[in-house]
Symmetry: C2
Subunit: 457 residues, 2 copies
Amino acid sequence: MNQEIPYKIYLEESEMPKQWYNVRADMKNKPAPLLNPATLKPMTPEELGQVFCAELVKQELDNDTAYIDIPEEIRSFYKMYRPSPLVRAYCLEEKLQTPAKIYYKFEGNNTSGSHKLNSAIAQAYYAKKQGLKGVTTETGAGQWGTALSMACAYLGLDCQVYMVKCSYEQKPFRREVMRTYGAAVTPSPSDTTQIGRKILEEFPGTSGSLGCAISEAVERATSLEGYRYVLGSVLNQVLLHQTVIGLETKTALDKYGIVPDMIIGCAGGGSNLGGLISPFMGEKLRGERDYQIIAVEPASCPSFTRGRFAYDFCDTGKVTPLQKMYTLGNGFIPSASHAGGLRYHGMSGILSQLYHDGLMEARSVGQTEVFAAAQEFARVEGILPAPESAHAIKVALDEAKKCKETGEEKTIVFGLTGTGYFDMVAYQRFNDGQMEDYIPTDAELEAGFATMPEIEA
Amino acid sequence: MNQEIPYKIYLEESEMPKQWYNVRADMKNKPAPLLNPATLKPMTPEELGQVFCAELVKQELDNDTAYIDIPEEIRSFYKMYRPSPLVRAYCLEEKLQTPAKIYYKFEGNNTSGSHKLNSAIAQAYYAKKQGLKGVTTETGAGQWGTALSMACAYLGLDCQVYMVKCSYEQKPFRREVMRTYGAAVTPSPSDTTQIGRKILEEFPGTSGSLGCAISEAVERATSLEGYRYVLGSVLNQVLLHQTVIGLETKTALDKYGIVPDMIIGCAGGGSNLGGLISPFMGEKLRGERDYQIIAVEPASCPSFTRGRFAYDFCDTGKVTPLQKMYTLGNGFIPSASHAGGLRYHGMSGILSQLYHDGLMEARSVGQTEVFAAAQEFARVEGILPAPESAHAIKVALDEAKKCKETGEEKTIVFGLTGTGYFDMVAYQRFNDGQMEDYIPTDAELEAGFATMPEIEA
């Protein structure tokens, strides 16, 4: 063991980022603009301002400013639970007997259980600053809803959460955490919105999806005075806030002169992956250094690996703007047997463009092998990972095992986005040998694609 | 805000303790020896060695050695999840508008969710070193069982856990975490032991207690070849291992020249409190410095505040040695309506002696006010505390609010032993306004005392 590098690298407060990094500024091919579905023209700030806070609209549309100041109040909140540790996985390396050096950036040491709090506090802060009464949102695995509840409780904002029904049922305790933080939680689809009632009529037995819940939350926000909608992933603004993950990681690595060969992250909507890789991708885009960057997604919801790069709605109810992204079609609803998050039909526009331009790769992995990796990791590194995070673990383990075969001393960095304490129903299924591996058929994918709007990009 | 002191003080690896501190070495009145209930003579190392690992017996009986080396392997494991942060509660201070300076040592950033891992790895390590096949134990809230499962998974030891039945039912997911780490979990009382069958016959509807579960685990260990019993609290050895909490806290405070006025911890069997206060108590015992030290216990299980200082069995089935301690009687079973841990009838012998000698004080608090404090804390400090830990929060908040009235700038340090992610059934009861406050009547206490052996101490 190289004892010079500690098990956990914690930055000093003074080393924490004071600015977010906007990777779009360094992209030659910018992500395509959001389109108004009625006119097929780019959404104006005024149009977006009806749904989102004004300052967040500015961030959403800003493709040019490389560094954006993090307001002092948000930095104070970050200090409450950040910096997160960059962990050298000495125990895992020893268990695997690999020459690879494995690091993971662990975002689970806060009650939301994930990185989601990084953007939740930013979005809640701008909502508060705009004088709003509250915000609405959707949540899948429950991490984003919890994070937003925490941020709103801190700032004294009302928080209304639409929770994907299958998560609501699998994770009753998530709801109670959100309630403890004062949020109102509704299972989606619900009869509290027009779009929810319509979806329930069409698919009475549906277990819901992020796409449905987004539709409901947007409708709710626009029908209430003094409310706006906030989103936990996909959007440019969210990736921007999440760059604190990558910036801290880079500072910690630089401090010890460590240069990673590959960076691995799980991808649902892309917020964690985008945040983690941004500073590294920036170097790559500027031609300063090359990295292998790998997005890992579930085989049951394979937006990158089997989706199409095209304009699509961000939600199932088709109430949002159109975004150009890798998508399975807004009507695609992943199997209920898939645990946790990463159930989104689309993908961040930024990551989609980077993937399309060959700047990163993607892999899809099956559910059972993901939980096996989670268990292997938990037993040596002491952290029970979220199923989402375990997708990245699976590929990190694969790569470390390859290094054992080849003898290569690669440096692997992966994002450990969160903890699995609220995913024990899924772990129990795995422990009992009853985990299912669902892979959509080509016909099922075609049915999803058929729900996409026909637009000449 | 005093920005010179960071929100979180993390020690460097090189500053982490290399030795545990044995407070007994500085106690003028040593804790009374464990007695053999058959002979009423002090237990010999040979007798104790039938139940406990040899090295742990040595630590249990050592009243003289002030510092005991932490083996290198245990220190490596500690580095996986330690040092734990000493947090300056800036957000809480601001919310309370108190001149008090509040710090908490947060032990919840590991998957066991608490400080219990500190002793679990030590006990599992000595079991492994002795060539044993496995260990048995009991668990109340489930934190100790989880911690031991993690330690055993890491070292490749078999782990059999008797879980107090009411916790087993309230916390199905705790069981799954333990299973994920490879442990076998049995609700107690069970029909897998003689003593369990006897208790079930006598009290068919019992929701169990730590005292019952201890009896079963001890019986199990002594009936299996190559097994020993390990205990998560109460014992001298456990307090010894837990002094890493206090030693880290003291080093962190010293680093910034901070001298606390009071130190507060929750007390069930006393492991967290004993570990936290030991180095400070040592200074007090040696006459170097004075501190106000407060143990906080639930009003429903008030060993210190309403118990008797006398010899008693450590378990309900009367299979353990006799220990002189503050006790409610081994037959006392706390109300099932009391959430989480701190349900033990007795108390650490070390803490009992210190309390008896007037070196620390104790307070009992009601369940509803404890959850209200937990919620208040969670909303500003971002951590959802374990109900056990919230007992300490309640008194810390009380003291900070007193400071607001008096204008005193007291420095308060409390132990935040863990997180409440597996206590959402109890939080839900609180959120729904259905929490119960149970306080035993004098007659109920008398019935408990009547189960104690009559011994002239």
